[in-house]
């Protein structure tokens, strides 16, 4: 570990020098959020088991929502997708993975997610599971959600709507509000590649 730290420190300095040499502002490394996050297993939109740890080596943009939500959720999906397409244009697509976790497994089945998500053209992986499994993942990430009482139009969710940036080791490095700045997130992802 000490050796690793020294090495990391040297690399950090090297990066700093390179950044200065390039006349760029030295970039603060994104701190690791140790309070939130962790590995989990859910079911993806192909109906297969998905384990976060299998994304090792990729930067992950992850957020929660549900497809019956017409206002914030599709807007957030569209923004995350735009970040992904920017990165794809930069040649980084294979090293970044957007994840959409539904609060609403009853309506957001793997089949429905498989029809819904490709429209965003960002290779988003949709994740669903049992209510208990989804709630457990939400808790790991500090997400609270509450299903409304069903009324004429169906039901909705009260929910927090952060977007999570996870590094190549699956650690939370930053949280964004759902109306995040696309360039900021694109830059942050690139800083972790």
């Amino acid at each position: 570990m000490p050796f690793y730290r020294v090495l990391a420190g040297r690399l950090g300095l090297l990066t700093l020098f390179l950044a200065l040499a390039a006349c760029a502002e030295p970039r603060q490394e994104l701190p690791v959020n140790t309070r939130l996050g962790g590995d989990f297993t859910l079911t993806d939109h192909r109906g297969e088991a998905f384990r976060l740890a299998d994304q090792e080596g990729r930067v992950v943009l992850m957020f929660f929502g549900y497809t019956h939500c017409p206002d914030i959720c599709p807007a957030t999906l569209a923004r995350v997708s735009q970040v992904y397409r920017n990165l794809r244009e930069a040649g980084d697509a294979g090293r970044v993975q957007p994840l959409f976790i539904t609060f609403d497994p009853a309506r957001d089945t793997p089949a429905h997610l498989a029809e819904y998500l490709p429209w965003f053209k960002a290779d988003v992986i949709g994740l669903t599971g049992s209510e208990a499994d989804i709630r457990a993942v939400a808790e790991q990430y500090g997400v609270v959600f509450l299903k409304s009482d069903p009324q004429d139009g169906g039901y909705d969710f009260t929910h927090s709507d952060y977007v999570y940036l996870l590094d190549q080791q699956g650690r939370v490095r930053k949280l964004y509000p759902s109306d995040f700045n696309i360039d900021e997130v694109t830059d942050d992802v690139q800083s972790l590649l």
Partner: protein, 153 residues
């Protein structure tokens, strides 16, 4: 009321067809109520719901109460608000009537008030323009062309 609403829409469509109502995309006017920047957020074709946004101005000399909306492709439409609670959570709430006194204006915009269109028989695509009618408790329907788009105009 139903009949009148239907008639208004049929008329609006006929006029739009004749190009008479094509003031500008996303704009419409009764003489006293003006709808501007009307758009729907484009969503996947399998989407069960859609959100609509617009600005409504009361240029008339009496108060009106916005009550809801109707659209041919939506089995149900409601006025919704997105609220942020003290601890940063967001939720949608069903809004009752919205009163606009003379000179008042109300904005429906992303992350705030929105038209919630549900039970969609058809999901209009980005680039299309569709008629949505705002309904009032004390005024005729006001129909406007809503542009389907990915972002705010």
């Amino acid at each position: 009321m139903m009949y009148k609403a239907f008639f208004n829409r049929a008329l609006a469509r006929a006029l739009a067809g004749a190009g008479l109502l094509a003031l500008a995309a996303g704009a419409s006017a009764a003489d006293d109520l003006v709808v501007e920047n009307a758009w729907l957020r484009a969503v996947p074709p399998v989407s069960p719901t859609m959100a609509g946004y617009f600005e409504l101005r009361n240029k008339g000399d009496r108060s009106v109460k916005l009550e809801g909306a109707e659209a041919e492709f939506a089995g149900m439409a409601m006025l919704h608000g997105t609220e942020t609670t003290g601890d940063g959570q967001r939720r949608m709430v069903h809004l009752g009537t919205i009163r606009l006194d003379p000179g008042d204006r109300v904005s429906f915009k992303p992350g705030g008030k929105h038209l919630m269109l549900m039970k969609l028989s058809d999901v209009p695509r980005a680039g299309e323009t569709v008629a949505v009618c705002l309904t009032f408790t004390n005024h005729d329907d006001v129909c406007a062309d809503f542009q389907v788009r990915h972002n705010s105009p």
